[in-house]
């Protein structure tokens, strides 16, 4: 990969994970992908009446990280957080209902696609202003430390957000106070349509930046579930002991920035054309690994059918939900 002198990634061996873990990873990734794919039609029909930032292609990051977290650990996200929310265990029905602007949405229709929250599974919220969630997650980790809880906070943000100053303020803050926070830098190579090299020097080196601040830094192949999961699980051991860590996951976003459409014709992609995205596709590749055992095809097919049905059910139920009562407009300004 020549995009920005990205250092080569030393991948974890697939054999490092037991089959049950691989299956769980496939299940989580497929839920994210299937849900978003089924939602495309709703966007095109203007039933999802807002931006949607799909994470198709990036599922290994959400799934690999969240499957390494404990239920008591927290996660937070950004504008592209359907996957983070679902991977942490967020309710699919309430997510879709929110995207469709319905009363039973996870924000009662006040947030929409860019505001995912499900506190019952410790997904504490996602905020779309770039970098804004990073200090908040740092504060959640500060609270855990002050309350002497054994809980990590993982926060997802993109390569674009990583150019916001508050990210560096936050990492410095976390390093100074030894906070249990995992910074997941989801590098999909483009800020909207702007390439990495159009935004930074060819000598830009995030490893030196973050380790220079006193944090740890790990680079993972964000197109490979096993690599993300294995490296995250290893990093979390020290994160729990107060060693804040940045895991940079280099991954491919298949769709356009904020619409579920392929935008290769726009001409900005230099290293991730459709055939390359397909070749490195985490969902397809993990399925291939699982399917090496001919006995397992039926098991995988059953899983896929179940997930497709789960998504259809969530979307159909959400579509039948009522819209919010207009009187709720004035409610909940304050707690």
């Amino acid at each position: 990969m020549s995009v920005s002198r990205l250092a080569p990634i030393e991948r974890s061996a697939r054999a490092a994970l037991p089959r049950a873990d691989l299956l769980r990873g496939y299940q989580t990734m497929l839920l994210i992908r299937e849900m978003e794919q089924q939602l495309v039609a709703y966007y095109l029909q203007h039933k999802v009446f807002s931006f949607v930032h799909f994470s198709i292609g990036q599922e290994a990051v959400a799934a690999g990280v969240c499957n390494a977290l404990q239920p008591r650990d927290a996660a937070m996200g950004n504008h592209r957080s359907h996957g983070h929310y679902l991977a942490k265990g967020g309710d699919p029905f309430r997510m879709v209902a929110e995207m469709l602007g319905r009363r039973s949405g996870c924000c009662g229709g006040k947030g929409g696609s860019m505001h995912m929250v499900d506190r019952s599974v410790n997904f504490l919220g996602s905020t779309p202003i770039l970098g804004s969630i990073v200090p908040i997650a740092t504060g959640a980790a500060l609270a855990a430390k002050l309350r002497k809880l054994d809980a990590v906070t993982a926060v997802f943000f993109g390569d674009g957000a990583s150019e916001e100053g508050v990210v560096y303020e936050s990492v410095n803050f976390a390093a100074k106070f030894a906070l249990p926070v995992l910074y997941v830098l989801e590098n999909n190579l483009y800020a909207v349509k702007t390439k990495l090299l159009d935004r930074r020097s060819p000598d830009h080196d995030p490893e030196r930046v973050f380790t220079g601040l006193g944090a740890r830094y790990v680079r993972a192949d964000g197109n490979d579930y096993v690599d993300v999961h294995t490296k995250t699980a290893a990093a979390l051991v020290d994160v729990r002991r107060g060693a804040p860590t940045v895991v940079e996951c280099v991954t491919f976003r298949h769709m356009a920035h904020s619409a579920p459409l392929l935008d290769d014709a726009a001409g900005y992609r230099d290293v991730d054309p459709p055939d390359e995205r397909l070749r490195q596709d985490a969902v397809r590749n993990l399925r291939a690994v699982l399917a090496r055992d001919p006995e397992s095809e039926r098991e995988i097919a059953a899983l896929e059918a179940a997930i497709a049905e789960q998504c259809r059910d969530a979307i159909e139920r959400a579509s039948r939900e009522p819209y919010p009562d207009p009187a709720s407009l004035l409610r909940d300004v304050h707690a």
């Binding site: 996870c106 997650a137 740092t138 980790a141 909940d332 300004v333």
Partner: protein, 350 residues
């Protein structure tokens, strides 16, 4: 028995009592561990609560965001910004994150954070250290915005802010830091959303807040000598504004004067006058009057700040005109009165 405390001592005492009462309360901000801690407002607290007084890197956005994150995770942070200009470096966290949080997540997501911000005039510190920006904070739904006018008010409001359960912007006029008042030693709270009639009068309603209240008292005493009764409404809350208390006073006096120590455009007084015009127009016997600063950045030289900030002399002059009384000779204020923070004692003046 109440004892005389300065404004900063009252803030410190309230903070200490909040920390004693609730282990979730912590203080975070630049310099809050210094021996004179944030102008004395956090003095000694770090010794009493070493884990709960967090002096931070010079990173306003991160420390404010950390406060937001801690607040949604079971803590009750008091974030301290020594000047409003530094709070502006964290405006995303205050305005876009904290203020929206509970609403945009559909309720059930409280952000119990208190954001202390020192504002306003101070000797010779000019355009980037003495802005007020009351209207900016007042215009944001989701924030509760209060401003204390005296030590006693500061202590009660801060306790209410910390225990409220919502983001509260607690504005502190530096100009009042050396003022004194008899303050009860026990913890108490003051309503975050209610204006208070701090002086009764029958001829004119003066609506002001923060450091304007001192000027109002001084002007009102002078006018009383002329037989003119000024009723002073201390707003206390800039969001929400307690329009009911204002309207009731205007219905009593028939005349309205607002006094802001900030720029006239989009100032708090403009908001007051607009609402009175809409809801109590019939009670007005004369056009409302607004006293405020000119729409220029805050200057530095005393020759310019003297022309910039309105004083009690302006209030006296405009009230006389408002009630149709003959003008009196314009009182000359001393350098100390014009340019040094008042050591006013609210208890001594009743």
């Amino acid at each position: 028995m109440p004892r005389s405390l300065s404004f900063t001592e009252a803030i410190r005492e309230s903070t200490l009592q909040c920390m004693e009462a609730d282990a979730r309360v912590f203080v975070i901000g630049l310099g809050c561990s210094y021996p004179n801690g944030a102008d004395g407002t956090t003095q000694g607290l770090g010794t009493l609560f070493p884990e709960r007084v967090i002096d931070t890197p010079v990173s306003e956005a991160a420390l404010t965001g950390a406060g937001v994150g801690a607040a949604i995770s079971g803590m009750r942070p008091i974030v301290v910004h020594g000047r409003v200009e530094f709070a502006l470096l964290a405006i995303d966290q205050i305005v876009t994150q904290a203020a929206n949080w509970n609403y945009m997540f559909g309720g059930g997501n409280p952000v119990p954070i208190t954001i202390r911000i020192a504002v306003g005039r101070q000797w010779g510190n000019g355009p980037q250290h003495t802005q007020a920006l009351y209207g900016l904070f007042g215009s944001v739904p989701g924030l509760k915005v209060v401003i204390a006018s005296s030590p006693r008010v500061a202590k009660g409001l801060l306790a209410s802010a910390v225990t409220d359960g919502n983001p509260v912007v607690f504005l502190e006029p530096r100009w009042l830091y050396a003022t004194r008042e008899d303050v009860p030693p026990e913890p108490y709270r003051q309503d975050l959303s209610r204006a208070v009639v701090v002086r009764e009068g029958s001829d004119v309603t003066l609506v002001t807040y923060g450091d304007g209240v001192v000027e109002g008292h001084r002007a009102a005493r002078r006018l009383q000598e002329r037989g003119i009764g000024v009723e002073i409404v201390d707003l206390v809350s800039l969001h929400p504004v307690d329009h009911g208390t204002i309207a009731a006073s205007v219905r009593k006096t028939g005349r309205l004067l607002t006094f802001d120590t900030t720029h006239g455009s989009f100032c708090i007084g403009s908001e007051i006058i607009a609402k009175v015009a809409q809801h109590a127009f019939d009670a007005l016997r004369a056009a409302p009057v607004s006293i405020s600063c000119p729409d220029v950045p805050v200057p530095t030289s005393t020759a310019l700040t003297e022309a910039f900030y309105p004083t009690r002399v302006d209030i006296v002059e405009r009230v006389l005109a408002l009630v149709g009384a003959p003008p009196i000779a314009r009182e000359a204020l001393s350098f100390e009165e014009l340019h040094l923070a008042p050591k006013y004692d609210f208890s001594a003046h009743g």
